[in-house]
């Protein structure tokens, strides 16, 4: 059953910036969906339109069957972590949550519970200005969980987290999904999301480029040939001349288009030594680059 439905959603800021351009999608109940795309893709604006913080220029979005503003006790149904949402630096972590809980008529005992969940109980009586970025991010997650909501909308939740925090976040998101919540998580770090989400919405330049389960989307994508060579730069030039799409990082190449046999033959013809040559199923990152590249070319 769809819990979020967007139809032909567009948002224009001023006359020049078209942040979201005719985007339609549905989010199914109980899934973890990643909204992926580079900075400026329109992810945050889309999430804000779902939450009625930004008014669409055109189109319509509903959450749990109505507009966010029409939900009864919305904070108990939808929890949100948004990039620009913040806490007064002079308020303690506990009081910051108490303010939200009081406004949403959530029992005060819940504040202690969510502080425990995000492992901030020991710091709860400290003022927020003394928190690290990671602690503020955990406090924001606690705020999102206050109302024990059915849907969680998280915008770049890994911002400011160290590797240990990222691992904690992944486990946290899996735990939320196992409890039957619907999670919509926006991120520009594809690797971070790939290990966590079921479905993805891939956005670029305000448009929705692809939507579906990761496995289906990557299965439909062209495989990637990976090569390591001390002459990677020379091989890259040859491949580009043949019309291949190449992504090079130092001595490693990720190639879309030709098969591994064709790459090997090209290297041999050019007298290029290869240290590694293999074909892989496309990763989420490969898929994203493929889709984004195709759109740019068209």
């Amino acid at each position: 059953m769809p819990v979020i439905e967007a139809e032909h959603l567009s948002k224009r800021f001023g006359k020049k910036v078209l942040a979201v351009d005719d985007v339609s999608f549905t989010i199914e109940e109980g899934t973890i969906t990643g909204v992926l795309g580079p900075n400026g893709a329109g992810k945050t604006t889309t999430l804000r339109m779902i939450l009625d913080l930004v008014r669409p220029t055109a189109g319509h979005v509903s959450i749990l069957g109505s507009r966010y503003r029409d939900l009864h006790a919305p904070a108990t149904r939808v929890g949100a972590l948004l990039d620009s949402a913040g806490f007064h630096p002079g308020r303690t972590g506990r009081n910051a949550l108490r303010v939200i809980a009081t406004g949403a008529r959530i029992p005060p005992e819940r504040v202690g519970e969510v502080l425990d969940m995000v492992e901030l109980t020991d710091a709860a009586r400290r003022r927020v200005k003394g928190y690290s970025t990671g602690m503020k991010q955990r406090l924001a997650l606690a705020a999102a969980l206050l109302g024990d909501p059915e849907i969680l909308i998280l915008d770049e939740p890994a911002n400011g987290l160290d590797p240990e925090g990222m691992r904690w976040l992944r486990a946290f998101l899996r735990a939320q999904a196992s409890e039957g919540r619907t999670v919509l998580v926006a991120s520009h770090v594809l690797v971070e999301v790939e290990q966590t989400v079921d479905d993805v919405l891939i956005m670029g330049r305000g448009k929705l480029l692809a939507q579906g389960p990761i496995a289906r989307l990557t299965a439909g994508a062209a495989p990637v040939v990976r090569v390591r060579s001390p002459h990677a730069e020379k091989l890259e030039q040859l491949l580009l001349q043949k019309g291949a799409a190449v992504n090079r990082v130092e001595t490693a190449l990720a190639i879309r288009g030709p098969s591994s046999a064709e790459v090997g033959e090209l290297a041999n013809a050019g007298g290029i030594v290869l240290h590694e040559l293999l074909t892989e199923q496309a990763s989420l990152e490969d898929l994203f680059l493929q889709i984004a590249g195709t759109r740019r070319e068209s």
């Binding site: 939900l71 806490f87 406004g103």
Partner: protein, 257 residues
Amino acid sequence: MTGLIRAEFLKLSSTRTAFGLFIAALAVSVLPAILVMSLVPRAALSDGGAAIAASGLTIVPLLAVVFGILGMTNEYRHGTITYTYLTTPRRGIVMIVKLVCYGVAGTLVMAATALLVVLAIALIAAVRDIPLPWLTTANASDLETIRNAAMFLLTTGMMTAFGVSLGALLRAQVPTIAGVMVWALAIEGIVAIIKPRIGMYLPFAAFQQLTMGDALNVGEASGLLALTRPEAFLVAIAYIAVFSVAAVFISMRRDVT
């Protein structure tokens, strides 16, 4: 709505902004009152001269405007407005509750400050044996005294709400406070001198005429034009109504990014 009201007062009590206003109010009113009552010669303070010691209270309503501006602009500055609107997406209600809560808070701070000023004056007057007929005599003017005090409190509450609406409209904290100070302390004064018939209708002039009452209404002969209290009340209410409605309307339409 009760949850929203309680949340608003919790916001006030969980930061130092309201406490800061109270300290500032004490600094501009109680401290001068103590100094005047302690240091000015006894003879100069007799026959009602001690009332001058309480004149610092007239600055408190201006502080209340700044308090109102801070209350609203801090929401934008620290990003807490996002949580406020996520909790209560009906933004009109959010704004109305904020206007009322800050109005009440400003009034309470004014009441506490005025009480401390009167206590300080009375205490020092008793120690120095200074007669204070305006404070101790029970006569027909008592009703007038109560009315003046009530008007002072009401005006302070109204000015705090006015600050909230200005903050909601302009959002940028420092420019809003600086702009209000320049407007209230300089521009209105200049207009009042150049065009007194216009000057007396300006917002801070109306607020001042509301608190000072007949003291300012000394007639055209003196060169100082002023509205009567009922007129000033209507003008002040009109300003607050217009700015509050504009603040509610704009808050409802504005994107929170």
